[in-house]
Symmetry: C2
Subunit: 311 residues, 2 copies
C-alpha cells in the first residue's frame, strides 16, 4: 500500500496504535505536543518538527530564515498547548557540499529566535544527507491548570484565530511569529477549551479539534481574517503554514476577551470580526452538523476538513 | 569554505560558540547528552540522533532493524551519561513512494526496543524527504551523583570498554545492545570519572575524553577486545558504530570492578584483559604524552584520534 492511500494522518493513526505508554504519559501522539508528568504544578511538553529542502522551503530561501523557521514551528507547537518553551536539540542533515557560511547563517537565524523566546539550544547532531534537513525537538513546561489540548471544544464555544490567514507561501511561513506570548496571555486570563496551531490550513486543523472533541462547527466566511484582500476564501481555508492559533472558549469567556481593551497589545473592540489580534470566526456545534461555512449571502455549505498533503 | 575543511567536530565547535544558554543548563553541546536542571536529586538528559539512508544504513537493510537502530543510538547516548531513558519523539522523513508496510516494519523494530528499555515514544512528525531519514530525540534522567561526562578522566585512571570492537559495519551496527544496564550498574556500584559511547571509533572517541579532560592515555593493542580474530587492529581502533561504552575510573575502583565476580551478568575475572563484559585496555596519563598505543612487542607509537568522517 502507498502512503498516499492512507495520508499523513491515517498513517500516524495506524502507527501509533501499536504504542504502549505508561501512566506518566498524559497525552501521547496526536496533539501539538506530547504531555508527560513533571512535578506537582507542571507538565512537560515535548514536540519535534522536521523541515526538508524542496518541501518546507526552497533551495534559494535565505538560510537564516530557514534556520529561523525550523525553530519557529516547534515554538508554535509549544504555544498551541499554552506552554513555556525551555530546551531544544537540533539535528542537521547537510548535503556534502554545503558551505560553512550557509550553516553559519542557518544557525544565526535559529539562535536569534531562540534568544528572543528564551529557549536554550542544548545539543544536536550533524549528519550528511541529500537535501538540507533540519529537525528541531523542543521541551516546554505548562502549568497543569493551563494545559490546553485539541479535545476540549464544547458546544456553544466561540472559535477564534490569532491573526490573518492565507498567502503564507509567499513568505510568511519563513517569518511568522510563533504565538507563544499570545497563548500564555490567553491561558493566564481566560478559560480556553481547545487550541491548535494552524499548520495545515484552517479547515484541516479545525477538523482536528472537531474530531478530537467529537463536535461540529459553524464558521462565517466574512469573519475569517485574511492577510490581503487578494487572498481568496479557498486560500484562507485550505492553505497551510499560517501558524496562527486556532482556539475555542466558552461564550462567557469569549465576551470577556472581546471586551478587553486594556491589555496591549491585545486591543480588542466590541466586534467579533475585529477584536485586535484575536478574531472570532464562528462557534462549536454538535458533531452531527459537521463543519459548515456560512457565506456573506447567508448560504450554508458543509466543508471537508482538508489542507496541505505531504504525500 | 567547505564543511570538510572544518570536519564535523570543527563545525560543531564553530556553531556552538555562538550559543548563549542560561544557568539551568549544566552541560550544553559537546557531550553525549545535554544536561539540564530537573529537581533536587535528578538532572534531565537530552539527546538527538539522525540516521539517513545511504549514510547510516543501506537501502536494502531490514526496515525493522533500521527503526531499531534509530532508537538504539539515542539510548546509547543516554547510557554514556549513566542515565535512565524516559521519553522519545521521532521525526520520520519518508520518500514519496515508501510503502506503508515498510513504515510498519520500521516502527515495529523501534517500538519493540522501546518496550524493552521502557522508553515511552510520545510523539513525532512525518515529512516527505528524498531519502529515508529518522531523527530520534530522547530525554532521560540521571541522579546528580551518578552523572558522568567526558571531561572527568584523571591521571592514573584505568580505561575500559564494555565489549568487543570492530566489524560493526558487517551488521552489529543494526543489532547492537545499547549499554544502558551496564552503565547503570557501573554508576550505582563504582566511581566512574568519564564515559562516552564509541560511535566514531575507539581512537576518535577516546580522543574526545582526552581533549575534554586535558589528559593523555596509553592503550595496549593486545588488550583491545575484538569481535573476531579476523578484525584488524586498525579496524578495532578506527571503525565506527561499535556503540560500546568507553569509560575511565580510578585505579582502586578498577581493581574492585575487575575482582567483582558475583554480579551476573558481570562475571569478571582477575585479569584486566578479560573481565567479563568489561575490558581494561589502558590508563590515563598527562596531556603532553598524547594518545599512545603499545603493541605486543612493547613498541610504543603515538596515534591520532581519528575515525568515521561524515564529510
Amino acid at each position: 500500500m502507498q502512503i498516499k492511500t492512507l495520508g499523513e494522518f491515517g498513517l500516524i493513526k495506524r502507527l501509533t496504535r501499536q504504542l504502549e505508554n505508561d501512566s506518566s504519559v498524559i497525552k501521547g501522539p496526536g496533539d501539538d505536543c506530547a504531555v508527560v508528568k513533571f512535578n506537582r504544578h507542571y507538565y512537560q511538553l515535548l514536540t519535534c518538527d522536521m523541515i526538508v529542502e524542496g518541501v518546507d522551503f526552497k533551495p534559494h530561501d535565505k538560510p537564516s530564515l530557514v534556520g529561523r523557521k525550523a525553530l519557529a514551528v516547534s515554538l508554535s507547537d509549544i504555544a498551541a498547548c499554552a506552554g513555556i518553551p525551555k530546551y531544544a536539540v537540533v539535528a542537521l542533515g547537510l548535503p556534502k557540499h554545503t558551505r560553512v557560511e550557509t550553516v553559519d547563517e542557518i544557525c544565526r537565524g535559529m539562535f536569534r529566535l531562540a534568544r528572543e523566546f528564551k529557549v536554550n539550544i542544548v545539543g544536536g547532531d550533524i549528519s550528511r544527507s541529500l537535501r538540507l534537513t533540519i529537525d528541531v525537538s523542543m521541551t516546554g513546561l505548562v502549568e497543569k491548570k493551563y494545559l490546553v489540548l485539541r479535545n476540549g471544544a464544547s458546544v456553544g464555544d466561540f472559535i477564534f484565530v490569532s491573526g490573518a490567514l492565507g498567502g503564507s507561501i509567499s513568505g510568511k511561513h519563513l517569518t511568522f511569529i510563533p504565538r507563544v506570548k499570545e497563548a500564555r496571555f490567553l491561558a493566564e486570563n481566560f478559560k480556553i477549551n481547545s487550541m491548535i496551531d494552524i499548520s495545515d490550513g484552517l479547515a484541516q486543523d479545525l477538523g482536528h479539534i472537531l474530531e478530537q472533541s467529537c463536535a461540529g462547527a459553524v464558521i462565517y466566511a466574512d469573519l475569517i481574517p485574511r492577510v490581503h484582500a487578494s487572498v481568496s476564501l479557498e486560500d484562507a481555508l485550505y492553505s497551510g503554514e499560517d501558524f496562527e492559533l486556532l482556539f475555542t472558549m466558552p461564550r462567557k469567556e469569549a465576551i470577556k476577551l472581546m471586551a478587553n481593551k486594556n491589555t496591549p497589545p491585545y486591543r480588542m473592540g466590541g466586534c467579533p470580526a475585529s477584536c485586535g489580534v484575536f478574531h472570532a470566526i464562528g462557534h462549536i456545534t454538535d458533531k452531527k452538523s459537521g463543519l459548515r461555512l456560512i457565506d456573506r449571502n447567508c448560504r450554508e455549505r458543509v466543508i471537508i476538513p482538508r489542507g496541505y498533503k505531504h504525500f
